[in-house]
Symmetry: C2
């Protein structure tokens, strides 16, 4: 968790929200970790090895926390929220393994990716294994409605990734098209994670809608801040490589804003630079120079700040969605979590 | 279907079993095709495009037929068997997409693979989409027990593939280890496909066990015949490239038998040849020469015939498993299907 706690410089109230949430749900989270470990066993030794590398290394557990929090807001009394939370983390981890293959990424959370260590083949297959195990866990929670929500999310996430892949060529992409992509590839799982917490608690429809809305808007905000952070944002650096998106030729909101706000010369730069970087024989020195120019354009046009502003807009929607629930410690922490996610950018 | 009907040269009774089965279940199969098409729609255009390429091109639909047949044997009266059959085909197709990436295959059923046409990235993601859709369909069938069986199969298949990947180095592999691998990577889905047909029909436990056993043993037999056919077997050639397994350095039963039966020189040949072929700079002329030598060794040791003999053993087990069911047209066809699968080898 060290990398997350390091952000806590823009005011204690918001920056510790994630660790406060971890503490508040420490009992449930410990049970989630037990579920996570117990489904990693396999006769194929590579599976626990890779599983431990990526899932055991302790991510933020943000998505499982959404399931646990949503169940708590809806006064759930059973134990199935723990199983569903673990299943959500498995789904997330499966997409990470596959994304790193698709994006040809070498680093994640500051560590070499599984595909870098064990190869693309093992990453694809272990991702498939985790997805299969995720569904087994969901079945164990015995809620067909939750299964429906999470299996739909699995298909939608893949659709979002395919849309992003197809959009690699499209520097002219509108902000709305981009939002459609991240709504699918990122926000769908945040939304589903929160929704199933309400569903197993048998919350009423408006409450379930509120949980979905909280998760979805938090997910969009989270992704946009991530997009900004990939360009270093206001300086603090995640374990993730700065410039990864750029070096993969990925079009994210900062680029879309800079492109739309730029003159003919700027637009030509973005088109050529993002095309060049995707060539197999891309010259690393040249793309590093291009990255410096890109940072300049982003600065001139205020695109990073405004990406974070857009994120803040979705964050506000997320917070308002919680208004349906009576005040509680959990509700407070979820509100602060939104501010924490935005504060990451600074 | 042309490629399948072309086999019908070793006697009508067995060689037409698959098309007889197709005809017997033509109504149900048409509904399966409708299910298959209707879940391929997506805002991401690549999805129906790739989906149509691989799933719409009309495979044998062997696995969905197992679900339909099993439901019929167990006197099922509802419609959920159609949904489950389509879900099974989606699962199978997802594994094909991912396998082609893992094996770096360029041809499947005589056509370029999706990864060859659209790239590895799209193949991984569309496979994930199909897996998500498969689970959505299973949820629609509203049977938690079927969901449990099929999600377990999904995890087991991936485990089998990981085991095979890890075994690429192991020319000394025992026949038992190899059987463990194909039991997982191939037979698990055959078994699950048949089992869920019995489960939704609420068949009793011995009948469900019989269906599982039929599917599993048919699956093992099918894979072993496939392994033999990859070396051309008795001459008839599938759309699949002959020598694909060899050129991927894959260790299959024919190789295991030839290795165990060979002298020191033969063993050295197998070890070196299968290692060489996996090198990125493998010389295509040299590996073609090695393939010819491999065929000689296989012939000398009778390894292809005996692989088919082993397949026949599992085929007999499959047929006997059906003994629990009263004689019927479906039972006859399933018995003949086993003979057809073995007859493919000749």
């Amino acid at each position: 968790m060290a990398e997350i706690l390091n952000f806590s410089e823009s005011g204690k109230a918001t920056s510790d929200a994630l660790s406060d949430l971890h503490e508040h749900f420490s009992g449930d989270l410990a049970r989630v970790e037990t579920e996570i470990s117990s489904h990693m066993a396999s006769a194929a030794e590579l599976i626990p090895e890779i599983g431990d590398h990526i899932i055991g290394a302790g991510g933020k557990r943000l998505r499982p926390l959404l399931t646990l929090s949503a169940a708590a807001l809806a006064n759930y009394q059973g134990q199935h929220h723990v199983t569903l939370a673990a299943a959500v983390e498995y789904m997330h981890t499966a997409t990470l393994l596959h994304d790193d293959v698709v994006d040809e990424s070498d680093l994640r959370r500051g560590k070499p990716t599984a595909r870098k260590v064990w190869g693309n083949q093992a990453s694809v297959l272990v991702g498939d294994f985790l997805l299969g195990q995720a569904f087994r866990m969901m079945v164990a929670a015995r809620s067909l409605e939750s299964l429906d929500i999470l299996s739909t999310a699995a298909a939608v996430i893949a659709e979002g990734e395919v849309m992003q892949l197809a959009a690699l060529q499209n520097t002219h992409m509108s902000e709305d098209t981009y939002l459609q992509i991240i709504d699918a590839k990122t926000a769908a799982l945040f939304s589903a994670a929160a929704e199933v917490g309400g569903v197993i608690a048998e919350a009423d429809k408006p409450e379930i809608d509120a949980l979905k809305s909280y998760g979805r808007n938090l997910g969009i905000a989270f992704q946009l801040v991530d997009d900004a952070l990939d360009y270093g944002s206001v300086g603090k650096v995640l374990g993730k490589n700065v410039g990864e998106d750029f070096f993969e030729g990925k079009i994210t909101l900062p680029v879309i804003l800079a492109f739309h706000r730029g003159d003919a010369e700027a637009r030509q730069f973005w088109e050529q630079a993002l095309q060049k970087v995707r060539m197999p024989d891309a010259n690393r020195d040249e793309t590093a120079k291009d990255f410096a120019i890109a940072l300049d354009y982003l600065k001139q046009t205020g695109s990073l700040e405004d990406t974070v502003q857009r994120a803040a807009h979705y964050g506000e929607k997320a917070k308002d969605a919680l208004g349906l629930f009576a005040p509680s410690k959990t509700r407070n922490l979820l509100t602060q979590l939104v501010d924490f996610c935005i504060a990451r950018a600074y």
